[in-house]
């Protein structure tokens, strides 16, 4: 069994699967259950400053993008930070940490943008014995209207300033949670690093409206006839989050900054994606809210079995391994040519590849041969775009074959060079560099 022990921003946990700051981590009852199920760590649902607790709506707080068989593709929420008194939360955090010394317990925080406010709450959190704090600069709904959450995360200067206060007024590791509602994730990540952050976590949720009720023509879900945009998460956001995680990992200014990957982790494969693109651990919420805490057991098992199969003793063995395969478009090798290949033994004759290619791409898959329904790739038309692979309902029925150097691309009639050649030197590029 592979060793899944994890150290993130100096915080140890028995595995890299943490529950993200969210409703599942709002109180001791849930967190005890989560740790009993096997979660490696928990980021306690965001605490606000002392005083009258915030209030939530008492109508729908959640909405979802579902498949017809009601599997959750995306999840939307308008819950605010904890609506329980600060002292109750702090007492429970202390109690839980004492009961589960081997698990990571990080506390998410969101207070007004003043040094005093941050200093005061940091002291009280540190007193609980919690392992660290995560600065919630991400929530895009509700709290952002009050100048907190993503309102801070969208201004790199604020990110740096608050991070610096936290480092100054606390001995705890500081994780800065980033909002994706920004055009360039590298800016707030760099600001967090400049402020002294021990790590960043991303992504928080994305501004979202699930839809419109077709009868009332009100946005949905609505409370009292009105709705507001929420924060979007779940499987649908994972590709967005992965791109941001990779950007941070491959940008010299932010490379090496520990990353906790968040967004759409529902299984070990998702965790692998994040880790291979440079994250040290992952945080999960939607999948737990959909299926309960037990799913961490399948995640742990799956990752461990994968690592055994691959011969990885620890997650460090493959962490960040995929980063070097991420580059800018201009550096892609234009001499690497692929062609679709249809395995006729696997083909079920649905014709989806044909119609997708015929209507929307390169007319490179024929449908009839000798009067018979048969789908074949026309190599002289195929550009290797992968559309047919993605629409084919049968796994591994259509694959891409990369042509060997010297082989003639039947579309262009030219033999392929063994020498990679990209856009920077391409003759059609008016800005090309000399080869």
């Amino acid at each position: 069994m592979a060793d899944l022990r994890n150290t993130f921003a100096g915080i140890k946990s028995p595995n890299p699967f943490w529950l993200a700051s969210a409703p599942p981590t709002d109180k001791a009852y849930n967190v005890h259950r989560a740790f009993e199920a096997g979660w490696g760590g928990v980021v306690w649902k965001t605490l606000g400053e002392d005083g009258p607790p915030i209030v939530n709506v008492n109508g729908p707080r959640y909405g979802a993008l579902l498949t017809p068989d009601r599997r959750m593709l995306g999840f939307n929420n308008i819950e605010l930070i904890t609506d329980r008194p600060l002292s109750v939360n702090l007492d429970e955090i202390r109690e839980v940490k004492r009961a589960w010394p081997d698990r990571a317990l990080v506390v998410s925080l969101m207070v007004p943008c003043t040094e005093t406010a941050w200093r005061e709450i940091l002291a009280r959190v540190e007193d609980t014995g919690a392992d660290g704090v995560e600065l919630n600069f991400g929530c895009p709904h509700g709290m952002s209207e009050r100048g907190m959450g993503s309102a801070v995360g969208q201004v790199p200067e604020y990110v740096e300033m608050v991070t610096a206060w936290c480092k100054q007024h606390s001995r705890m590791p500081v994780i800065v949670k980033l909002t994706p509602n920004i055009s360039d994730i590298r800016k707030p990540a760099a600001a967090a690093k400049a402020g002294g952050a021990d790590a960043v976590s991303l992504i928080n949720t994305i501004n979202s409206i699930i839809g419109v009720d077709p009868v009332t023509l009100q946005m949905s879900p609505a409370t009292g006839g009105m709705g507001t945009h929420g924060g979007y998460c779940g499987p649908a956001v994972k590709p967005i989050a992965l791109a941001m995680v990779a950007e941070i990992g491959r940008t010299p200014e932010t490379a090496g900054l520990p990353v906790s990957g968040i967004g759409g982790v529902a299984g070990w494969r998702d965790a692998l994606d994040y880790l291979a693109l440079g994250a040290t651990n992952v945080q999960v919420c939607t999948a737990a809210m959909a299926f309960g805490f037990k799913i961490v057991q399948e995640m742990i098992d799956g990752l461990s079995d994968y690592m055994d199969e691959m011969g990885f003793a620890t997650t460090a063995a493959f962490q960040g391994r995929a980063l070097s395969s991420v580059t800018d478009w201009q550096y892609l090798n234009l001499e690497a040519v692929s062609k679709a290949v249809i395995d006729q033994d696997k083909c079920i004759q649905c014709g989806r590849c044909h119609i997708a290619c015929e209507d929307t791409s390169h007319q490179a898959i024929s449908a009839v041969k000798d009067g018979r329904r048969l789908f074949e790739v026309k190599e002289d038309e195929c550009v290797g775009c992968n559309l047919c692979v993605t629409v084919c309902p049968v796994p591994d029925c259509i694959t891409l074959r990369t042509l060997s150097p010297g082989e003639v691309d039947r579309r262009t009639g030219k033999p392929l060079s063994a020498q990679p050649a990209d856009w920077t030197t391409h003759p059609n590029n008016p800005m090309r560099k000399a080869a």
């Binding site: 498949t67 017809p68 068989d69 004759q349 649905c350 014709g351 119609i355 449908a367 309902p393 049968v394």
Partner: protein, 464 residues
């Protein structure tokens, strides 16, 4: 001691007499073998309507194939991926319109089509998952959803054309033709021998396929399009009648089905207790309540001769009425059987035994009533096999009453009317379709397609 023995001897003798009497007892054909409550459950929907959740999940299995094999396999060419996608999209009205515009009897076909040898047989999911999309059940889900609203919520009539067409036969072919012509603005009068419209939908299909008096509900729904007159109790008996129709209407569509039945041509065929399966099913279908069904007499032991859907329908319904033992005996092998594998499985699931390779030899009688049927192995012969029977059903196919038609100038082939692909008979303004037309497979869905094509052709001829 002798005194003591005497009653025993007498009892023993009496028992022997009872046994002898029982062996020779006239056939046990009785009503009320099952309670109305048990019958109500027995004749309930064989495949109930899918619930919304089931329909959505099943609809999701459809791959939306290009040039979909299911659509090609459907004699009426229903855009199957299109209607299934509309179900998944929560557009049941659109799904139903897609189905019914290709096949007005989409509701009956969803229940009665042998989908396992049509659309579902060619579903690509068979290759991938060993199980087709349940197209028939999805079709029912969609069509049922619109039956509570008038047909005019989906289809409208074109402006009146002033043309009048006579349709003879109110089965699927005739009513489809009438409906399609009415939609185009023509006036139609449908003539039929029976009291109720629907043809075999009303008088021929098994009860559990058409639960809830669906045939009448569907016919009434379709007739709601307007412009269709209904002439029941009208039987085509003379060439003069047909000539008169041709004289008083702009066109005539013959969809008379196959009203006659074949004879076995063996001894004992006229004994009491020997019935045409189609007649028995018609009677059964008109017993529209469990109480009425309980009044139908059925044999304790039933033998069905034949191998088509009718054989299965009569056999299973005999079982449901309470027959203890039902045997279907077919002359040839399973591969030649008209009833599909799914139909055979349905029969077996309902306790019917199917025997192959046995040709009927004679029906034995007792006191003028059938008591057994003897068969010879076929082909090849051998020792006769005997099945005890209180009731015998002949389900060996129907035929056309040719006399009127032949004398009306129609060409007949193998006992059916020859037409072109659009149903034109070659006699001016005279069209024919459905089971009476040569070249079909006697399927409801083919009859519908015949009616649809003929309506288009008649319209084209009358209003070029």
């Amino acid at each position: 001691m002798a005194d003591a023995a005497a009653p025993n001897a007498a009892a023993s003798a009496a028992a022997a007499i009872d046994r002898a009497l029982a062996a020779a007892t006239p056939a046990d054909v009785a009503a009320g073998r099952r309670s109305p409550e048990a019958l109500a459950a027995a004749i309930a929907d064989a495949a109930p309507r899918l619930a919304r959740g089931q329909a959505l999940v099943e609809a999701e299995r459809c791959l939306y194939c290009w040039d979909a094999p299911c659509q090609q396999a459907c004699p009426t060419g229903i855009d199957v991926p299109g209607f299934i996608r509309r179900i998944a999209d929560d557009n049941l009205r659109g799904a139903a319109r897609t189905i019914l515009s290709a096949n007005p009897f989409g509701g009956t076909c969803a229940r009665a089509c042998p989908t396992e040898v049509l659309c579902e047989q060619v579903c690509v999911r068979n290759l991938q998952q060993g199980k087709p999309v349940e197209i028939g059940r999805l079709q029912r889900y969609a069509t049922d959803a619109v039956m509570s609203r008038p047909v005019t919520a989906l289809f409208s009539r074109a402006a009146a054309t002033g043309r009048r067409i006579a349709v003879v036969g109110a089965g699927p072919a005739g009513l489809t033709c009438a409906f399609e012509l009415a939609r185009r603005g023509h006036e139609v009068v449908v003539h039929d021998l029976r009291d109720l419209p629907g043809g075999l939908n009303e008088y021929g299909l098994a009860t559990y396929k058409m639960a809830g008096d669906f045939a009448q509900a569907e016919a009434a729904w379709l007739l709601g399009i307007g412009g269709i007159g209904w002439q029941p109790g009208w039987e085509l008996e003379t060439a003069a009648q047909l000539a008169e129709l041709r004289a008083s209407f702009d066109a005539v569509y013959l969809a008379v089905g196959l009203a006659g039945t074949h004879r076995l041509g063996i001894d004992g065929e006229s004994l009491h207790g020997v019935h045409d399966a189609v007649a028995f099913i018609a009677t059964l279908r008109q017993a529209k309540t469990p109480e009425a069904l309980a009044r139908l007499a059925v044999g304790r032991r039933v033998v069905v001769i034949g191998g088509g859907m009718t054989a299965v329908d009569v056999a299973v319904q005999s079982r449901l009425l309470g027959a203890e033992r039902v045997d279907i005996v077919y002359r040839r092998g399973p591969e030649k059987m008209g009833a599909s594998a799914a139909e055979r499985e349905w029969a077996q699931k309902n306790g019917v035994t199917i025997h192959f390779g046995l040709a009927p030899l004679a029906i034995d009688g007792h006191g003028g009533h059938a008591s057994a049927v003897r068969f010879l192995p076929h082909p090849g012969g051998g020792d006769a096999v005997r099945f005890e029977a209180d009731q015998v059903f002949k389900a060996i196919g129907q035929k056309l009453d040719e006399s009127v038609l032949a004398s009306s100038g129609l060409t007949l082939l193998d006992g059916r009317v020859v037409t072109d692909a659009n149903g034109h008979t070659g006699v001016p303004h005279l069209y024919a379709g459905g089971d009476c037309r040569a070249g079909g497979r006697d399927l409801t869905v083919e009859a519908v397609e015949d009616g649809k094509r003929a309506a288009a052709a008649i319209h084209q001829e009358l209003l070029p």
